[in-house]
Every structure is written in structure tokens, then in C-alpha cells.
């Protein structure tokens, strides 16, 4: 079990505290391909941030790959996150002062003293996989939006992380690019058996995932495997 949440809630502090998530029970196994859908403001990003340990739950228990997040110190959590979770956001968030290759190597550099030769080989393989190997020495700002998002995916995959969390990864792309970026994630999943959890507004994209979790007002209201898309199967 990669993700195991029991009774998880998240209350944001503020003048008026806001309960953004409540009573979330969620189990995700290694190798799943999950979509999270819901209205704007329903709590999708909040859930994804909790899963990715960027934030901590205010109630309930959360085990990530068996580690009880509530029991782990901040610095341990940072390390754990670096080992287990890769993020893809709506905006690529590549570091603009670095080249494409350097950006893909960044997760290694950020957690180690120096990326090894094997790391570079892995990064190049990933860049080839996402189809931007030819741009490896360009600055991250010098490639197209679709390419940037592909690089961001390669970066998230770097180090063979078991869990990739994508928050509206295609939200900022045109439909052609959306389709191909999603395709890419799907293919990577099929090849590497990496777990993907993808927040999306796009029902067509959600429909191509293996499991769809629907959130309304901070609660999981629906959680079901994909209904067979084609009547043939």
C-alpha cells in the first residue's frame, strides 16, 4: 500500500478557520493510475498536497509507503518526499536559469552532493522518453510550453520515484499538447508501473484513468474504477 489515509482532515488556519478536507479514507496501491476530479475549490489540490507531504493533515492518520507522516520530523519528511514523490504542476516550474538537462537532474542535485554519471544517463533516457532530448542544453525558458511540461514530467520521474502527483498537468496546455502530455504519462505508467495521481478538470482525461476519485466540498463522494470505455470489453 503506497498511500493509506484514514479519517484525514485538513483545516486551514485563518481569521475564520476553513475545513478544506474532512473524513478522507483513501488507499492507493503501487502502480495505480488515478484521477482526482471535482469542482474548483472542492479540495483537490489540498488532498494532493497532503498525499505529497507538502502539508500535514490536521486530523486522521496518513501512512505513506508505511511511514506515519504525523510521527516524522520536518527534515525527515523532506528526505522521504525526495525519495518517494515526484510533482508535476499546472505550471512547469522549471528553474529558468538552468538548462533542460540540469533541470531534470535537479532532484538528484537537491538531495545529494553531486549527480553521478548514472544520474545523467537516467536523465537523458527520460528526456528521450518524453521527446525533448534534442533540447537538453537549451535553457528551460527557451523551449515551448508543451516541451516544458514534458521536461517537468521527466524531472518528476527522475530517481525512479514510485509516486507521481500531478496537479492539473495539462491545465495550461492547448488540447493537442494536453492529449500528448497525458498520453506520455499513461505510457510511462504502463512501462514503469509508476503510480500516478492526476488532478484534472478535464473529464475526457479522467475517463482514461483506471480509477476516478470525485471530491465535493472536501469529501470524497465517489471512488470507482474506470467504467469500461468501450462496450466491446
Amino acid at each position: 500500500m503506497l498511500v493509506d489515509m484514514k479519517g484525514v482532515g485538513k483545516e486551514y488556519e485563518g481569521v475564520v478557520p476553513f475545513l478544506a478536507l474532512s473524513e478522507v479514507n483513501l488507499q492507493v496501491d503501487k502502480g495505480e493510475f488515478v484521477a482526482i476530479v471535482g469542482q474548483s475549490g472542492s479540495g483537490k489540490s489540498t488532498l494532493l498536497n497532503l498525499i505529497g507531504t507538502l502539508d500535514r493533515a490536521t486530523t486522521g492518520t496518513y501512512l505513506l509507503d508505511g511511514h506515519d507522516i504525523a510521527q516524522v520530523s520536518d527534515s525527515q519528511l523532506t528526505r522521504l518526499r525526495g525519495e518517494l514523490v515526484g510533482f508535476v504542476f499546472q505550471f512547469h516550474y522549471l528553474l529558468p536559469d538552468f538548462t533542460v538537462l540540469e533541470n531534470v537532474l535537479m532532484p538528484k542535485a537537491a538531495t545529494r552532493t553531486r549527480p553521478t554519471k548514472e544520474d545523467t544517463t537516467e536523465a537523458m533516457r527520460l528526456l528521450e522518453r518524453v521527446g525533448v532530448a534534442g533540447e537538453k542544453d537549451k535553457l528551460a525558458t527557451a523551449i515551448s510550453g508543451g516541451q516544458q511540461q514534458r521536461v517537468a514530467i521527466a524531472r518528476a520521474l527522475m530517481g525512479g520515484k514510485p509516486l507521481i502527483l500531478a496537479d492539473e498537468p495539462t491545465g495550461n496546455l492547448d488540447s493537442v499538447n494536453s492529449e500528448s502530455v497525458f498520453e506520455l504519462m499513461r505510457e510511462v505508467h504502463d512501462e514503469l508501473k509508476t503510480t500516478f495521481m492526476i488532478v484534472t478538470h478535464d473529464e475526457r482525461i479522467a475517463d482514461q484513468c483506471d480509477r476516478i476519485i470525485r471530491i465535493t466540498d472536501g469529501k470524497i463522494v465517489d471512488d470507482h474504477p474506470r467504467v469500461a470505455a468501450s462496450p466491446k470489453s
Partner: protein, 406 residues
């Protein structure tokens, strides 16, 4: 840490005009710092040199005895208290003291002096003088008359004398002329002017009358004795230990230049304080510059910081990025400043006629390796320090916030 340094470096390179401006302002601060410290240093050295460089730094004199009541036939008679001026005391055992003083560590010159008042007489003219009897080779180690000879040469042998240029003018003397000297002890002697010197001091030029030690002793009625022993030391600014040792060796009255130059010393310490104030302000200039560029940089890069954090970059590494950035701004500012300030100091030191102390000389500005190092270390250090707070702020930022606010 390599990661932090690498990213900090890249941020520095792509820092844009804000970073460049800060580097310039740090450079400016360092330039001012170098200029001021070099000038103060040069001025101090100049002052110290003119004040004590050519004179005795430690002087050994006989103990001033308290007035004695002369016993007359076993009875005390208050009317026979010996008056002060009749008891002029001299150093009789000086010959034995010289090698012992020579042997003291830190003492660079030892010169016995037999001096006293007198008159120089030529034609109808009479001028009051100070007769100074020295051993030529020892005396020149205290004040090298040979370097200030404006005509003739230093030769005190036989009836030879060296006189100040002003005295020569007042009495109309040239090299080779003869004149008569009468001492206050009533001894007369004829001297030949072998050299005329310009000591750069009107008093000395008008009064000093250098003769051999032997002649000085004879004229001043102190054969076999001297009136004082003059010493020079290797470290005139730190001579307390030497003074103590000289006191121990001689058991006599020992005075250092500090005892007689209180004003100079307080002037020097006022200068040092000014320098300190300027140093502090320079540091503040550097610190605020670096801090401002870092605060802006942290704000601009908050999203990147959040992303790095989401990748598992530790707080220490993230802090390291901005401390590297601050250090780089400080160091490159310091390099520019040292280059610029150093050149400026070198140029100023080579323009004659700018000195406020000695007409015709260059500004007494001296670049010292210590200042360069200090300015450099301060700029780099303050740069790194000023980075700490913004760096901490960066590292503690919540990645969720920056990502959410996209």
C-alpha cells in the same frame, strides 16, 4: 553543499541589474574603506615618523635628586641647602651602560649625548645655541644628519661641527668658516663648520650645534660623563616592555616618546576612532546592499524555492543557496572595490604636491596588505551574514503557498 553553491552561482550570474548595482555599491563601500584606512595609516605613519622617526624614542637620564641639605660640621644649617641649578647631574657610568643597552632586545640604536647651553659668536653676532656632543656613528642612528645635509658633510672630528641652516644664515656662515663657541660652563672653543643641515624644523635649524662627544663633554664640563643616552626601538608604537627593561638595566630615569607627546597620541587615537566609525558605516553599507538584493531575490525566487523544497532539498541547502549568493555579491564587490580603491590609492600616492604635511610630497597614503585583506574579508563576511536572514526566510517558506499562489 556543492548544490547550494552551484545554484547560488547561477542566481548570481543571472541576477540582473539589481545584483550588479549591489556589487557596485559594495565596491564603492570597499573603495571608501580602503581609501580612508590607507590615508589614515599613511597620515599616522607620517606623523609618527616626523615626530619620533628622527629623534630619541627612549631617553635615559640621571635621576633628579631631591635637594640636599649640606651638613656643615655635623650641624644642620638650612641656609646651606644646595640650590637646584647647581646640582646639574650627569651620567658618569655611561660607558659601561652602552653595551648593556645595546644588548636589549628591540633596541635598535643607543647614543650617548653630552649637551648643554651656549653661545655661538661670530663677528659682532651672538646666537644662543644648544651644544650637542655625539658619537658620530651612534648619533646618526638616532637622527641621520648625513641625509639632511644641505651643504658640506658630517664630520665632527677634531674641531668639526655641523650646524643648522638657520643658524648658518643668521651668522652668515658657510662650510669651511670658523666660529667661537662659549658654553654656559664658561668653556670656549673654536669650531670649523664642516656641514650645514636642514632638519626641516626651524627650532632645530636655528639652535642645534653638533660636535663630537668629546668636545661636548669638555664644553659642558662633564668629562667622562654624558647628560643622557638616547635610544631607538624596532617597534616605537609598542615599546613599554623595552622601557621597563631599560629601566631595570639602568636604574635611572627613563622616558619614552609617549611621555612627552601626549597630544600626538590623543590625536592619533582620535584618528583611529574616526577610522573605526567609517569602517562601521562601510560595513552597514555593504550589509544593507547585500540584504536588499537578497530579499528581492528570495521574493523573486520563492516559487523556485518551493519547487526545490518539494523535490526534497533540505532547509540547510536552501539557506546555502542564498548565503552563497550573498557571499558572491560581497566578494565580487570587494574584488572590484579592492581593484578600484587600490589603483586610486596608488595614483594618489604618486602625485606630488598633495601632502598636507610636507610641501612638495605626495599624499601620505599607504596601501597595506592588511587593509586589503580586511576590506575583502569584511565585505565577504558581511555579505554572507546579511544573507542569513533572507536565506532563513526562504528556507522556511511553505512550498504549498508558493505553488498554490502560482
Amino acid at each position: 553543499m556543492l548544490f547550494a553553491i552551484k545554484i547560488g552561482f547561477r542566481y548570481f550570474q543571472s541576477g540582473g541589474s539589481q545584483t550588479r548595482l549591489t556589487v557596485i555599491s559594495v565596491a564603492f563601500g570597499v573603495t571608501v574603506y580602503l581609501f580612508i584606512t590607507s590615508l589614515m595609516f599613511g597620515l599616522q605613519n607620517g606623523l609618527i615618523n616626523t615626530t619620533i622617526g628622527n629623534s630619541s624614542q627612549i631617553t635615559v637620564e640621571p635621576l633628579e635628586e631631591s635637594a640636599r641639605i649640606l651638613p656643615i660640621a655635623g650641624k644642620l644649617n638650612l641656609s646651606t641647602v644646595q640650590p637646584f641649578n647647581e646640582r646639574e647631574v650627569t651620567l658618569k657610568g655611561y660607558v659601561g651602560l652602552l653595551p648593556r643597552l645595546d644588548a636589549i632586545k628591540g633596541v635598535t640604536a643607543v647614543s650617548p649625548v653630552a649637551s648643554g647651553a651656549g653661545f655661538a659668536v661670530r663677528g659682532g653676532q651672538t646666537r644662543p645655541i644648544t651644544i650637542i656632543g655625539i658619537e658620530e656613528d651612534r648619533g646618526t642612528q638616532i637622527f641621520d644628519l648625513r641625509y639632511v645635509m644641505s651643504s658640506g658633510r658630517l664630520d665632527l672630528g677634531g674641531q668639526g661641527a655641523a650646524i643648522g641652516i638657520e643658524l648658518a644664515r643668521l651668522l652668515g656662515l658657510k662650510v669651511g668658516d670658523k666660529l667661537k663657541v662659549s658654553s654656559s660652563k664658561g668653556v670656549d672653543q673654536v669650531f670649523a663648520v664642516n656641514g650645514i643641515f636642514d632638519a626641516g624644523n626651524i627650532n632645530v635649524n636655528e639652535r642645534s650645534f653638533y660636535v663630537s662627544l668629546m668636545n661636548g663633554q669638555r664644553l659642558n664640563d662633564m668629562v667622562g660623563a654624558v647628560s643622557r643616552i638616547e635610544l631607538k626601538v624596532a617597534e616605537p608604537l609598542a615599546l613599554d616592555d623595552v622601557v621597563d627593561e631599560v629601566r631595570g638595566v639602568t636604574g635611572l630615569k627613563v622616558q619614552s616618546w609617549r611621555d612627552v607627546n601626549k597630544e600626538l597620541l590623543s590625536g592619533l587615537s582620535a584618528q583611529s576612532q574616526t577610522t573605526t566609525i567609517i569602517r562601521v558605516f562601510t560595513m552597514i553599507l555593504v550589509a544593507t546592499g547585500v540584504a536588499s538584493v537578497l530579499i528581492v531575490s528570495v521574493m523573486q525566487r520563492s516559487r523556485e524555492i518551493g519547487i526545490l523544497k518539494s523535490m526534497g532539498a533540505s532547509t540547510r541547502r536552501l539557506q546555502g543557496i542564498f548565503i552563497t549568493l550573498g557571499t558572491l555579491v560581497g566578494v565580487s564587490g570587494a574584488l572590484t572595490g579592492v581593484g578600484f580603491g587600490g589603483t586610486m590609492v596608488a595614483i594618489l600616492a604618486s602625485i606630488p604636491g598633495t601632502s598636507p604635511l610636507r610641501p612638495g610630497y605626495a599624499l601620505p597614503i599607504e596601501l597595506n596588505f592588511r587593509f586589503v585583506f580586511e576590506a575583502f574579508a569584511v565585505a565577504a563576511g558581511v555579505g554572507a551574514m546579511a544573507a542569513i536572514l533572507p536565506a532563513r526566510r526562504a528556507a522556511l517558506m511553505n512550498p504549498v503557498d508558493v505553488i498554490r499562489l502560482g
